[in-house]
């Protein structure tokens, strides 16, 4: 999933797209998704895909490192297209381009926007409890990722992982996960004590400013309008 790399890119990137607010980029992504859902015109979808890919490159996202994130939905789209559309290449191409366009738009969003900022926007729609859970999950993910990395290295070094031995892998993975799970649950108990000490109530984590419009917002808004204009024309 490479969430750590995505997070690094989103925080360290300095492109114009990075500087735009999360809300404007969410608007752009929503427009792309709507076009993907509604449109059945291959040229428009190809144009939208080209635009989002160009924006990814302009935003300084290394495509070579992230192309697997695009290949993943493409792989499932091709299985789906094969199983459901038979021999029609137009239908198969449509399914493939649609999935790639939507995935590219989402990757553009998350590689150029700090995820807590996206959660900040989503909290307008979500109950405070879930908004808090999102942020705590994200925070815990990075804590656990470091520990899992050490566990996996230790497993490989001690011969606990072999690509062709599924049972061995499963037993080793379950052992590593078991220890990690106990550690993480104990960490969650410590976190609980901290929250109680600070007078936690649902929604308190996201208190404060979450959106400031800037001139950089014009980029995503104009991009969305171009795609919408194209959709209306076609």
């Amino acid at each position: 999933m490479h969430l750590a790399d995505i997070d690094y890119l989103a925080f360290q990137g300095n492109s114009l797209w990075h500087k735009a607010s999360a809300l404007s980029k969410l608007f752009f992504t929503l427009v792309i998704i709507c076009v993907v859902v509604i449109s059945r015109e291959l040229p428009l979808l190809l144009f939208t895909l080209a635009l989002t890919l160009a924006l990814l490159v302009l935003a300084g996202v290394p495509l070579r490192s992230f192309c697997h994130l695009l290949l993943y939905p493409a792989l499932f789209a091709s299985i789906f297209a094969f199983s459901r559309l038979g021999t029609s290449w137009v239908g198969a191409a449509l399914v493939l381009v649609k999935s790639l366009t939507a995935a590219t738009a989402l990757i553009l969003l998350i590689t150029t926007t700090c995820i807590p900022a996206i959660f900040g926007c989503l909290r307008l729609l979500l109950p405070p409890l879930i908004a808090d859970a999102l942020l705590l999950t994200y925070r815990s993910f990075f804590t656990l990722l470091g520990q899992l990395g050490s566990f996996m290295t230790a497993l490989r070094l001690k011969g606990g992982y072999a690509p062709l031995k599924i049972m061995l892998n499963l037993r080793s993975a379950a052992g590593a996960l078991g220890v990690l799970l106990i550690h993480s649950l104990e960490a969650s108990e410590r976190m609980h004590r901290v929250l109680v000490l600070r007078g936690y109530r649902p929604g308190i984590i996201f208190a404060g400013k979450w959106y400031r419009p800037t001139w950089y917002d014009l980029g995503p808004v104009l991009g969305a309008l171009v795609v919408l204009f194209g959709a209306v024309l076609v």
Binding site: M1, I6, I33, V36, V37, R40, L70, P73, F76, A77, F80, F82, L85, G86, V90, G91, L94, K98, S99, T101, A102, A103, L106, I107, I118, P127, I130, D132, A133, L134, L135, L136, T137, R139, S140, F141, T143, L145, L148, A162, P163, K165, N169, L170, A173, A174, G175, L177, G178, L181, I182, S184, L185, A187, S188, E189, M191, H192, L195, P202
Partner: protein
């Protein structure tokens, strides 16, 4: 295992809107149920376990094209309703990185929530009657099989829209070359023929889909059942107080 990898833009809006509405109703119910419990004490555990589910998905299982989900484990450790919220959180993060379309997220949450709810209640029912390993394995296998069936059912239900999508596209191209007047006499015969063809191709394509998904799904279910059973028995040995069913029973006893 049983989450939909259907790409965006393939199923008709009516289906994913239904999915989102169902998800909203389920989440509202879940949040209301959880509010009765001590939210502050469960939220950190919810965050950690959701992160743990995300991490488990990243563990390579060799050459098998599947990954662990640990939905049933999360439900056993968090309780059914917090399990549903964990499913939502994990699915949202997955959808953001393109793992499963964002439009099918509602349907995904419904499918995986059924796994969490069924897994939890089965585990709670079997826990006192059979050995822990058997209770966990049975609950996981039954819950995952049910969710796999639900996923196939959803694909079957939404199938007609994909053919419609293709036909619409072809009709759009035809319309540019033929006038309405020349097409009129053909319409009646064409409709009957295409309906019969459509039904046949739907059936064939669903069969093909089932043949692709079921073998991978069955392997995934077996692997998940083994992993969840090993993890649950490990937790029971080290920290039995962490099992959600155990909490309830202790509370009732008190």
């Amino acid at each position: 295992m049983s989450h939909l990898h259907i790409p965006d833009g393939v199923i008709a809006p009516v289906w994913f809107i239904c999915g989102y509405l169902g998800m909203a109703a389920l989440l509202t119910l879940a949040v209301r149920q959880v509010s009765r419990e001590e939210v502050a004490s469960k939220i950190p555990r919810l965050g950690v376990l959701s992160a743990f589910m995300l991490l488990a998905m990243n563990i390579p299982l060799g050459f098998i094209p599947t990954h662990l989900n640990l939905t049933v484990l999360a439900a056993i450790l968090l309780g059914p309703w917090l399990g549903v919220i964990a499913v939502f959180v994990v699915n949202l993060l997955l959808a953001l990185v393109g793992h499963g379309g964002i439009t099918v997220m509602g349907l995904n949450v419904l499918v995986l929530s059924s796994e969490a709810l069924l897994g939890y209640y089965l585990f709670a029912a079997l826990r006192q009657r059979v050995r822990l390993e058997l209770a966990t394995a049975t609950a996981t296998v039954v819950a995952l099989t049910a969710s796999l069936a639900l996923m196939i059912g959803i694909v079957g239900l939404t199938q007609i829209d994909l053919l419609w999508l293709l036909q619409e596209h072809q009709h759009g191209q035809e319309a540019e070359t033929q006038t309405a007047a020349t097409m009129a006499p053909q319409i009646e015969g064409d409709v009957q023929e295409s309906e019969a063809e459509g039904r046949h191709s739907q059936h064939t394509s669903l069969n093909r889909f089932v043949m692709l998904v079921v073998p991978i799904g069955m392997v995934g279910i077996v692997l998940e059942a083994i992993a969840v059973t090993l993890l649950t028995s490990f937790i029971l040995k080290v920290r039995p107080d962490l099992i959600a069913c155990q909490d309830r029973q202790t509370e009732k006893g008190e």
